[in-house]
Amino acid sequence: MAETTKATEPGDATPNVSPLEVADVHSVEEKVAALDAPVERGEPILQVRNLVKHFPLTQGIIVKRHVGAVKAVDGVSFDLYQGETLGIVGESGCGKSTVAKVLMNLEKATAGEVFYKGQDITKLSGRALKAVRRNIQMIFQDPYTSLNPRMTVGDIIGEPFDIHPEVAPKGDRRQRVRELLDVVGLNPEYINRYPHQFSGGQRQRIGIARGLALNPEVIICDEPVSALDVSVQAQVINLMERLQDEFNLSYVFIAHDLSIVRHISDRVGVMYLGRIAEIGSDEQIYEHPTHPYTQALLSAVPVPDPDAREGRERIILTGDVPSPANPPSGCSFRTRCWKAQDKCAEETPLLAVPERFKGVDTPAAHESACHFAEEKDVVHAG
């Protein structure tokens, strides 16, 4: 299982963690109050530690025997800082969406912790969980299934207020919904329409308005634009950036489109087979990737310059992604890696700044889970 070098265990109340949190917060009231406390810009607001989600595989009709598990997420750790956008990229099936579901508590984590303002939200339930939900919201991938077709837009965006009546007094709610429609760039007079009367981009705006209704601090975006036309993608991305500035939001932005992630993210994590392969600022990842998987991904990005295209090296990976039910030993990428050696099969590389770059002031000095991490500029001519 991958471990982080940021050995700060937030439960230990290390200086890294804001002073509010901590062990002697016991009653639900205190917990709820702690969740509403503000976080300074640049402080970690969400800390994910060794998050694991295994889906059991069972056999048998009456007595279910466990015959294994699909390791959808297998030890993911990262920090989300207040006000930033953390992009998570990876190909289909690498566990990106499962991370989003576990962060939202829509799936129970098998192991690991998600600290929101110092509280492990994977263990919360009842009122404390409801309070967390007010602060962490989600935007879904498919705007065609994420809106109830039999509810009006007013009911859809107003539902958060029905569930959390303390957020908006009853008489105010219609007005709040109209304001939200206006904020996401829709005509407030559309309040009585039904989802099927809107285009994909407009529907996604409705989904965003619903996510904003409770004034959350963190929004988990699970491929929010991949179901949209390219022209509409830009509009929605721009809207999301505007809202981030306006409401001081922190985004976890999950996508498989590398250029969009680069555009919107401050930092980027690259996932492969349930683990983070490499994480760093967008410049570090895109200009100075050190993990072979990241390099292979980036070499597949189209370059709009025929001359540069001629010159650059394409890394073509062979084979398929191994089954997450039976991942390879050691480094999970070794089966497709051109650098793989015996060490890769024996030892799982940890997500850490590679030895050779430690203490060196270079953009390549960022966390990368590879025994043979080295810089390779694949975006420009090679």
Binding site: K101, R133, P149, R178, D182, N192, H196
Partner: protein, 312 residues
């Protein structure tokens, strides 16, 4: 928003202002699926026609005396010398094999037939719908258990099951007939409901509601139920006619409604042996049954469409 103004080809200021006012008025109204559905329903001619027919049928069931001066239970109502007389003036539906006036019997038969049809439909929808929803929502071993129980019920054919239950409990009135058919009929609704719930519960809008902190009650009744009702409405309104006809089959075997009680099913099964020589004895009660079934199917259809925003 500017989108609105761009769409308009006209620059007529007054018309523009009027339109904006209308828009604002429309937005001030608080729409909901129920209100919109009802407003839409009232405008549909099919709803008005089927509604009127159903009201007429209910009137027949409640107060048959209003529609005929004769009573099928009075002495001398049936005169054997009139047996199988075709329609004549004063007796527009003719006479049946016992020499009873078919019009009067059709009017008085409405009550039992409609009770059997409506009660059975409501009971199967409630039992099948609730149990199906429970099985679909909870899943796991509860779903497996409920599904197996349903299979036991649906493995019993209506007639065999009816004979079995009637021979144990006795009976022969509308309520026991409705009970038998409800007990043997709910698995069908159960299966449809369970399937619909399962196919809807993994939709993102349910996940979105959970992410907002919605409880299971809100998810079940606000999100899943409205999206599962359409096929249930179709199947139950179609079944209403099937139940009224099935009651006739039970009566034919001697376990349904028996003389001197009257029902359309009973009249149809009596008349079918002599259909070639005197079709009127079959056609009139069968016609009443068809109109009833049609009215309910039309109502179900129109209700389904009115509460589906996409069909408006």
């Amino acid at each position: 928003m500017s989108e609105k103004t761009i769409e308009r080809p006209t620059t007529d200021e007054a018309a523009l202002a009027k339109e904006i006012e209308a828009d604002e008025k429309a937005a001030a109204r608080q729409a909901s699926l129920l209100k919109d559905g009802w407003a839409d329903l009232r405008k549909r001619p099919m709803f008005i026609v089927s509604g009127l027919v159903i009201l007429l049928l209910l009137a027949l069931a409640v107060a048959p005396g209003l529609f005929t001066a004769r009573s099928p239970f009075s002495d001398g109502f049936c005169q054997l010398q009139n047996s199988m007389t075709p329609p004549t003036s004063g007796h527009l539906f003719g006479y049946d094999v016992q020499g009873c006036d078919i019009y009067t019997r059709t009017v008085y038969g409405a009550r039992n037939s409609i009770i059997v049809g409506v009660v059975t439909t409501i009971a199967t929808t409630l039992i099948g719908g609730l149990v199906g929803m429970l099985a679909g929502l909870i899943g796991g071993w509860i779903d497996a258990l409920l599904s197996r129980v349903t299979e036991v019920f649906s493995a019993l054919p209506l007639l065999v099951g009816g004979l079995l239950i009637m021979s144990i409990w006795g009976g022969g009135d509308v309520w026991s007939v409705s009970l038998i058919m409800a007990v043997l009929g709910w698995p069908q609704v159960f299966r449809i409901m369970r399937g619909e719930v399962i196919s809807n519960k993994y939709n993102d809008y349910v996940a979105a509601a959970r992410a907002l902190g919605a409880g299971s009650g809100r998810i079940a009744f606000r999100h899943i139920l409205p999206n599962t009702l359409a096929p249930v409405i179709v199947i139950t309104t179609m079944n209403l006619g099937v139940y009224i006809a099935a009651e006739a089959a039970l009566s034919y075997l001697g376990i349904g409604i028996q003389y001197p009680n009257i029902s359309w099913g009973l009249m149809i099964s009596d008349a079918q042996d002599r259909f070639l020589t005197s079709p009127h004895a079959l056609l009139f009660p069968a016609g009443a049954l068809s109109i009833t079934v049609l009215a309910f199917i039309m109502l179900g259809d129109v209700v389904r469409d009115a509460f589906d925003p996409k069909m408006r």
